[in-house]
């Protein structure tokens, strides 16, 4: 393996971006990415994640006042070709006039890496990405997954200081996406190269990121490790964007939440007022005899989707909106069944509702 050692840390200071037509794509952003860390920028389209990535890459310059650092070097005014970054695009951006091996060696050639070294590095990339049998292939003879592996090999061959990936898996079908995600994950863990990964897919973000930056309307909604963002979302937006979240609107009553389907005990010092959120997997279906001290909610199953490893139920009557819960797939449940749900108080989230 080519030694990439630990990647450089990347820092953004007050990087905002206003486009020429006046659209504000990114509000001033401060971000510190540690050397070797994989940071995922996650959010819906138009949230500013790609703009942030392009500012790090040098494809966009931040509005005046914004600064970008790679380690101790300030690179704000440095064009992309001098930043020594590796970039992987959603559309692959492989050069159709070159074959697989020539695509990988392109960056080494333009940087005038001496021929022996060049061949050695291309060879090691071909091996690492399992592309050796395809080295002579034309780009249009490759599948989507192969193309993205070539793109990754090409970006890594130049031994970049930072690896930047812009929705690299979005163009692939589901099964391939899963496979390549695992491959990329293993690769990033072993290389310890500083990586910024942009995606709108929360499962991709959770699987790959050391930390996730959830973005919305050009602002950071939350930064944290995947577990943190999932279990302690900072806002209703984050809770909804990452995973599925149910919303319970009721009346707070001395430590209890009163809902159409029953009463639930709230955790100590609950901040959500009359609105609590919970994840589908945090609700338990109670037996008829159980009446837990935390209270219970009664409802009617209105839809059942069997997913093999689990089962998803839509339950009505619990709150003003139907809730989604997960259940043991071996359980016999049908539409119309009456069920009771228990939710532990510590699983109820109180969130500030945001913009």
């Amino acid at each position: 393996m080519t030694a990439h050692s630990i990647g450089v840390p990347v820092r953004l200071r007050a990087c905002a971006k206003t486009f020429r037509d006046g659209t504000r794509a990114l509000e001033p952003l401060d971000l510190s990415i540690q050397g070797g860390e994989t940071l995922v920028l996650l959010g819906p389209s138009g949230c500013g994640k790609t703009t942030a990535l392009r500012i790090i890459a040098g494809l966009e310059s931040p509005d005046p006042g914004g600064r970008v650092f790679f380690g101790d070097d300030e690179v704000t005014g440095v064009p992309i070709e001098k930043r020594k970054v590796g970039m992987v695009f959603q559309s692959y951006a492989l050069f159709p006039n070159l074959n697989v091996a020539d695509n990988i060696s392109y960056g080494l050639k333009v940087r005038r890496v001496e021929e022996g070294e060049r061949r050695r590095r291309v060879e090691s990339m071909l091996q690492m990405m399992h592309l050796a049998p395809l080295r002579e292939r034309r780009i249009d003879q490759l599948s989507g997954g192969q193309k993205q592996r070539v793109a990754l090999a090409r970006a890594l061959a130049v031994q970049p200081r930072v690896l930047l990936m812009d929705e690299p898996l979005t163009a692939l079908d589901a099964k391939l996406r899963e496979e390549l995600r695992l491959e990329i994950n293993a690769l990033l863990r072993s290389l310890r190269i500083t990586t910024v990964y942009v995606t709108h897919d929360q499962s991709e973000a959770m699987a790959l990121g050391d930390r996730i930056v959830v973005m919305s309307h050009g602002r950071v909604a939350q930064i944290g490790a995947p577990r943190e963002v999932y279990h302690r979302p900072a806002s209703a937006f984050v809770a909804n964007f990452i995973g599925t979240t149910n919303r319970l609107d009721g009346q707070p009553d001395e430590g209890w939440l009163v809902l159409p389907g029953g009463r639930l005990k709230l955790p100590e010092s609950f901040v959500g007022g009359g609105t609590a959120y919970f994840r589908p997997e945090d609700a338990a279906i109670l037996d008829e005899v159980q009446s837990p001290p935390e209270g219970a909610l009664a409802g009617t199953v209105s839809a059942v989707s069997f997913l093999g490893d689990r089962m998803r139920l839509l339950v009505e009557g619990v709150a003003s909106e139907p809730v989604i819960i997960e259940a043991d797939p071996r359980r016999e449940l049908r539409v119309g069944d009456r069920i009771r749900l228990g939710i532990e108080p510590r699983r109820l989230l109180g969130l500030r509702s945001d913009s």
Binding site: M1, A93, L94, F95, V110, A132, E136, R138
Partner: protein, 275 residues
């Protein structure tokens, strides 16, 4: 059989269209080889007219080739970077430039020539030089080169390809020569073929701009049809074909190589080594 009937009808139609296109050319070429056109082939075949044309008009033939090649050179040097720039810039002004470039096509050649004469005709040295005709040819053919290259560059995602190349360390000119040009290749070749044929065959502009000493083949052709034996005019057609066909073949030949090599075999034994 039903299919047979349809097939024969299609074949006949195809042959009819071919005949419509080729018979006049073939007849004209043949006329140039007959000793006496009025008497027909019975008068015998001869190369006399061909040599006569060569003797009378070899300057025009030479000038036609010089102008065509110079015109190609100019449209390549000006047109390809223009198309490259237009393909990359995405702005309303570039749309405007694109449209402006096509206007010479909408204006009759005679009008272009007249415009050139009114504007530059006073400069006698220039007016009597062959580059005066060249200017007309470039004005007329440049849009074809730009359009043809632009069409190819617009069909690929040039912007992202360039961003990819830039991220790998390629400077502006490296990107132009290693990514822009090779991927525009088919458009450049198509444009070059068009520019050459148009320039060699151009009559309207050239007729207005030519001087007795600066004559191209089509102008000479018109002269000889008007003032000489029909056999000489016809031999001229042959000369024209002899000139343009090798030129077109040459361009195609030059443009042929340099596609990335096809995979010779899907399975190449993997050298032992790290994974």
């Amino acid at each position: 059989m039903q299919r047979n009937g349809l097939f024969i009808a299609q074949l006949l139609f195809t042959l009819l269209v071919c005949a419509f296109m080729f018979v006049p050319v073939v007849l004209s070429v043949m006329a140039g080889f007959t000793a006496n056109y009025i008497r027909g082939f019975s008068s015998g075949l001869t190369l006399r007219w061909l040599f006569e044309v060569w003797g009378l008009y070899k300057d025009a033939i030479g000038l036609s080739l010089v102008i065509a090649l110079a015109c190609l050179a100019v449209t390549l040097i000006v047109g390809v970077p223009t198309a490259y720039f237009l393909a990359k810039a995405n702005h309303w002004t570039t749309r405007l430039v694109e449209e402006l470039l096509v206007t010479p096509l909408a204006v009759p050649g005679l009008a272009i020539a007249l415009g050139l004469i009114i504007t530059y005709g006073g400069i006698r040295e220039f007016r009597s030089h062959w580059t005066f005709i060249l200017v007309g040819h470039v004005l007329y053919t440049l849009p074809f080169m730009v359009r043809s290259v632009l069409a190819v560059l617009s069909s690929i995602d040039l912007k992202t390809l360039e961003e990819g190349a830039a991220s790998l360390g390629a400077s502006y000119w490296q990107r132009f020569f290693t990514i822009g040009l090779p991927n525009a290749r088919s458009g450049i070749v198509a444009g070059a073929l068009m520019v050459l044929t148009l320039s060699v065959g151009e009559f309207n502009i050239t007729w207005m701009l030519h001087t007795p000493i600066n004559k191209t083949v089509p102008v000479g052709l018109a002269d000889s049809y008007a003032s000489m034996r029909i056999e000489i005019g016809s031999a001229y057609t042959t000369v024209f074909l002899l000139m343009i066909v090798p030129l077109l073949l040459l361009i195609q030949y030059i443009a042929e190589p340099a596609r990335p090599s096809r995979a010779k075999a899907a399975v190449v034994p993997q050298p032992a080594g790290s994974t």
